[in-house]
């Protein structure tokens, strides 16, 4: 899932500026699961904004609503009336949700309430960790299902650097060394020979380095035309 965390109230307030009518829009998918921007967080943030406006001696209307998925137009259509009535939308969706609102409502000013952080999973209660960098050319089949692109600090493809120690990465004792994990897993599966092959330079064109990416599925387009 997409993992995000809320911006500080101070930053959110400065993004909102002097707007009087504010709509906080939560999202019911990834950011709900990571407790950053679901209906609960949207309600809490609206009341914090109301309270702090009161303390600052400013009167403003803050309402909140949560859609099931901010990243799809059809879910946004359901709140188009509410959106048209406010000065500003504070999106608690991921960066995609914010952009979906901006794209779908050209006359609405939208600002982000979250920092979209990574693609990952919860490893324990209250802890999320990065797992994928969406490089567009998945190498997990060579590494025992552990991603060296997202999880090795240097995205190495031919094994661990000299900084790996006691299972952690050279950058910090709190960061697992991805290559130690890969090594351990391949060893336990009796597949260490995979590591002996020389991996040639990666084609980063499929990653962000090739420019903004887009997928066109002609089969699906044709199917929808035929309907």
């Amino acid at each position: 899932m997409i993992v995000a965390e809320q911006k500080s109230l101070d930053e959110i307030k400065s993004l909102i500026g002097t707007s009087d009518n504010i709509l906080v829009v939560g999202c019911g998918t990834c950011v709900t699961v990571c407790f950053a921007g679901g209906s609960r967080e949207a309600a809490i943030l609206s009341s914090s904004l109301r309270m702090s406006s009161k303390l600052d001696g400013v009167s403003r209307n803050v309402a909140d609503v949560t859609v099931q998925r901010q990243c799809e137009w059809e879910y946004l259509d359901a709140i188009s009336d509410q959106i048209s009535e406010v000065d500003i939308v504070l999106s608690l969706g991921c960066g995609i949700g914010v952009q979906a609102i901006a794209e779908h409502f050209p006359n609405t000013w939208v600002v982000p309430g979250l920092n979209t952080t990574f693609l990952g999973l919860p490893t324990e209660q209250g802890v999320w960790a990065e797992r994928c960098a969406a490089c567009g050319d998945c190498v997990l089949g060579l590494t025992g299902g552990i991603c060296p692109i997202a999880r090795c600090s240097k995205s190495l493809l031919n094994g661990p650097c000299g900084g790996s120690e006691d299972g952690h990465c050279e950058i910090s004792p709190e960061t697992d060394c991805a290559w130690q994990l890969i090594y351990d897993r391949l060893e336990s599966m009796d597949k260490l020979e995979v590591l002996m092959d020389l991996q040639t330079p990666k084609n980063w064109q499929t990653s962000r380095d090739g420019g903004p990416r887009k997928i066109v599925r002609e089969d699906l387009r044709l199917a929808s035309e035929q309907e």
């Binding site: 240097k154 650097c161 900084g163 120690e165 950058i171």
Partner: protein, 341 residues
């Protein structure tokens, strides 16, 4: 090791290559460029190393701290008459920049290269920067070997003129984790085209012998020249710090005890009563012992089958190289012929 020699019969023809090919025990040193544009510093350091090393590594923004570029400093070192080993990390440059910089380095007279992943930028003085890591060190080795042996760029395009002919080096960390993989990782670098290897600092000879045994079992010592990394300890504090904080460095307790004992004459003086002169004298006693230990290490390393030389890392203490090389009986350095035997 690739065997596509140039007209003179060598891969690159550097002094380092010639010394190793002739079967001499090689000595390389290290010259850290300044955190400024002062060329005088390069000259001063080069003067201390001249004649005592076959070639000196010029570090590339070591520990991710901005310094004069390795190629810039390397060009100055060439002018001084000393042979550089250009260090090149994958942290700061993508494949375009690495290749173009190496064309320039070759044109400026540099003939040895050390391929590195590079310390992560979070260690250095620009932790908020973006890193590159377009390719890794193994891929870098392969790329520069192809540039030399096939005269092609990484993309496959043929070069139109002189190809850069480097004697290609790589690093090895024998005691980093996962420990069992380290000899294989070295083998991978040799397979990718590394002509020589410089290891992380070795203090624990017994552990290094175990590593070298595995390396010999794999036959890697016959595919690449292995230079063992050594460095003089400055003080017991430095030894303890490295042991506890630097990944992949093992220092036996006896060695730390020996360093501590070197400072014994001052040990009963309370800290606040130590005069400047006391501290100076104690520091020289420590340093003398550090140099002596280093000499003994080199002598023992020479006895290990598959060790083709030493890489002396005495960064910011270049003056130590002369007594170490002399003490180890490795001075004067051999003069090697222009043509391979």
């Amino acid at each position: 090791m690739t065997t596509n020699p140039s007209d003179n019969g060598y891969l690159a023809g550097s002094t380092l290559e010639r010394v190793l090919r002739a079967g001499h025990f090689a000595v390389t040193g290290e010259l850290g460029p300044p955190q400024s544009a002062d060329r005088e510093i390069i000259g001063k350091k080069a003067a201390m190393l001249m004649g005592y090393c076959d070639a000196v590594n010029i570090t590339d923004n070591q520990t991710a701290i901005v310094r004069m570029s390795s190629i810039g400093a390397g060009a100055l070192v060439v002018q001084e008459g000393l042979e550089p080993v250009i260090q090149m990390t994958c942290r700061d440059r993508n494949r375009l920049a690495i290749q173009s910089d190496l064309l320039g380095a070759y044109a400026l007279g540099m003939r040895n290269l050390l391929c590195l992943s590079g310390d992560h930028q979070s260690f250095g003085n620009h932790p908020t920067s973006k890193n590159v890591f377009d390719i890794d060190s193994v891929q870098q080795i392969q790329m520069v070997a192809d540039m030399r042996d096939e005269a092609i760029f990484q993309c496959g395009d043929k070069m139109k003129g002189q190809e850069p002919r480097f004697f290609i080096g790589a690093a090895a960390a024998p005691f980093a984790d996962p420990l069992d993989f380290r000899p294989y990782r070295l083998g991978k670098k040799a397979k990718a085209g590394a002509d020589f290897i410089q290891t992380q600092l070795i203090y624990d000879l017994e552990a290094f012998k175990v590593f070298m045994e595995k390396v010999r079992d794999l036959g890697v010592h016959e595919e690449t020249y292995i230079l063992a990394g050594v460095g003089p300890l400055k003080s017991p504090g430095m030894a303890r710090y490295m042991k506890n904080n630097v990944p992949g460095i093992l220092i036996p307790d006896e060695m730390i005890t020996r360093m501590t004992q070197a400072g014994a004459p001052w040990k009963d003086i309370p800290k606040d009563e130590l005069t400047k002169e006391d501290k100076k004298a104690r520091s020289s006693a420590w340093k003398e012992t550090g140099i002596q230990i280093c000499i003994e290490l080199i002598q023992e390393l020479q006895e290990i089958e598959g060790v083709a030389g030493v890489h002396i890392m005495a960064i910011e203490w270049e003056a130590a190289v002369k007594p170490i090389v002399e003490g180890a009986g490795l001075y004067p350095r051999p003069v090697v012929s222009e043509q391979p035997a």
